[in-house]
């Protein structure tokens, strides 16, 4: 169970990215965070694994206060939270295998890892994870030779190396075309259903939300404007989240 309590983030320039956000995510949920660009979705996700320091509020995960942890303890927590990104955030000039293995850095011997040494079983684990996302044959290609959909799958494989209990996905399909979007989200769905990994995913498109989400949080200007089931998002609710001028766009 992940509890977000009165989370507020104000950036150095005075921008209020999150304003008193509170909600709960039970284990095993596929939570979608819906909102316009700039609504605070990315900030919210990054506060959960502390890539961004929240200004106020608490985040409690299975009884541990993430916001109060630091140093080794924070790294231990991060180990169990996978994250995938809109721009994939792979290390471009490095091989796919090393990119995937880098997801394991929180587990392996830190000194040996500096020499790019990974034990045999970790390499096997990486290959298994690549196989799981269907690109085992690309293990020795450079990351920058891959297409967008392939890159995101490397991103998922990297996150899987962490054996995560929680997966954060920041607009994972916004840089991909609709067909690929479905294939990526299906992997996330699979992880959610088969491995019981809690997924928190930010998305743009309502159709995708209806198809994959088990629960939805709507954000607008850093505030929670909707909490509920995907089916409860009526046109009225939709306009509350996206503004009066919004029109729904259908994704194939």
């Amino acid at each position: 169970m992940l509890q977000i309590e009165h989370l507020t983030k104000i950036y150095g320039d005075g921008t209020v990215a999150l304003d008193d956000v509170s909600f709960e995510v039970p284990d095993g949920e596929f939570l979608v965070i819906l909102g316009l660009s700039g609504a605070g979705k990315s900030t919210l996700l990054r506060c959960i694994n502390r890539l961004i320091e929240p200004t106020k509020g608490r985040i409690i995960w299975d009884g541990t206060d993430i916001t109060a942890s630091s140093g080794e303890e924070l790294r231990q927590i991060r180990r169990h939270i996978g994250m995938i990104f809109q721009e994939f955030n792979l290390v471009e000039r490095t091989s796919v295998l090393i990119n995937v293995l880098s997801g394991r850095l929180g587990y392996v011997n830190p000194w040996l890892s500096l020499l790019h040494y990974f034990p045999r079983e970790e390499v096997d684990r990486a290959l298994r994870n690549l196989e799981r996302v269907g690109i085992a044959d690309l293990a020795h290609k450079r990351a920058d030779e891959l297409s967008g959909g392939q890159r995101q799958r490397v991103g998922i494989a990297r996150a899987l190396m962490q054996e995560p209990r929680l997966m954060l996905a920041d607009e994972p399909v916004a840089s991909l075309d609709p067909v690929l979007a479905h294939s990526i989200l299906r992997y996330l769905e699979q992880l959610n259903r088969e491995d019981g990994i809690t997924v928190i995913c930010s998305l743009h498109f309502l159709d995708l939300v209806r198809r994959y989400a088990s629960h939805v949080v709507g954000l607008k200007d850093g505030r929670v404007v909707f909490q509920g089931l995907p089916d409860e998002i009526t046109d009225r609710r939709f306009k509350e989240i996206y503004g009066e001028e919004a029109e729904r766009i259908t994704v194939a």
Binding site: R46, R75, R78, N89, V91, L105, Y107, S113
Partner: protein, 461 residues
Amino acid sequence: MQRKKSPVLSSVLSLIVPGLGQVYAGSPSRGAAFFIAIAVTAILVRWRGNSLLYTGIAVAWLWNVWDACNLAQGRRLSSILPFLAIALVLYVIGWGVTEINLRRLLTDVADVKPLVSDLFQPAVFERDIEELVGEVQFESPCSDSPPAKGSPLESEPYLVLVDKTCGDPGDTFTIEGGNFWPNSRGYIWWSNLAGEMEFRVRYKGDYLTFETDEEGRIPPTTVIVQEPFAEAKDKGPQLYRVQARMRRETGPLHLSETFFLVVEKMVETVFLALMATTIAIIIAIPISFLAARNLMGGNPISMAVYYVVRTILNTLRSIEPLIMAIIFVVWVGLGPFAGVLALAVHSIAALGKLYSEAVESIDPGPIEAITATGANRLQTIVYAVIPQIVPPYLAFTIYRWDINVRMSTIIGFVGGGGIGYLLQQWIRLLMYEEAGAAVWAIAIVVAIMDYASAKAREKIT
């Protein structure tokens, strides 16, 4: 919209002091531009003393009044006209200051022809030289027992005196000889008896020459008795050696001594660049992190370090390596070490800046992603930062080595070692064929470096 100003007052102000009306009308930067442009140009015109040029300034000044008048009414005019007037004046002054003289370019072209043609005949190949020498002794001034006239030899080249065997400086005497190469030209040399002081004899400014006949005989040739050498002055009668010398090239062409010297110095030059670049890399890498805004932006102390390092780098970079070399030549003496230091210091500044920009332009995404996996700081640097900065670092380093090879070829001009030192000496001694060899060596090496560095950088990025 701002309140309208008085056009009359504005015009009058600009008439008195250019730009003042514009300041009054609310465009201080425009006013400052007018004032500085007109004032600086006026000072320059006064310095060059060409009063015709005041016309240009007058045009700009009047236009400035008109501009101030319009500005006060809220109209902005295009400033093409005064700009052209000022530019014209400046170019006329510039023409004079730089002493541009197109006529000389055409009339004096003959002066440069031997130089250029020598540069295209670099002294890379040469033949062995063989020499024939015949000599006879002459006394000056005359003593009681003057030397003999000498006698013809059987097969060796010889020289004999025809009319007299002694005389005072300035007198003339006649020589003749034989057994030289037929139909060839040679020179007359004068030396003391020990043979360590010698020179070629001149006659009316030109070297005194002779031509042999078809049997290798030197016809009777008139020679002037030379002044005594400094240490023989006032020491009474001395014997001198008068020689006829002939040289010719013989044997096959082979690589010249100059060639080997140039190669040796070229190797020195490339190593000079290599050492300078290597020293610069070692120092510039840690410095580049201190000069990267994205790494140093955390707190005021690191920001202060950032600014100090940046300022030092910018200052060092603005000093030309040649000037740096002069300083180091005084410091550590003539030679390649001074050149290494000069190039190293300049390269530290240049690479420090380029490296730090590479650090600044890294994509934060991978850092974020690696941090999110629970990696520690060192792991994050090794996995997310270094892979991103290695290619640009390599590219900049190769580029810098390329530049350093180029620079090291001329750093010798101020005593910094390498091939430039030879080139500069040969140019001063008017040894243009040797200089040509050096110039070609530089051109070839620089072209190879240029090509190789471009190829290598292509591969990396």
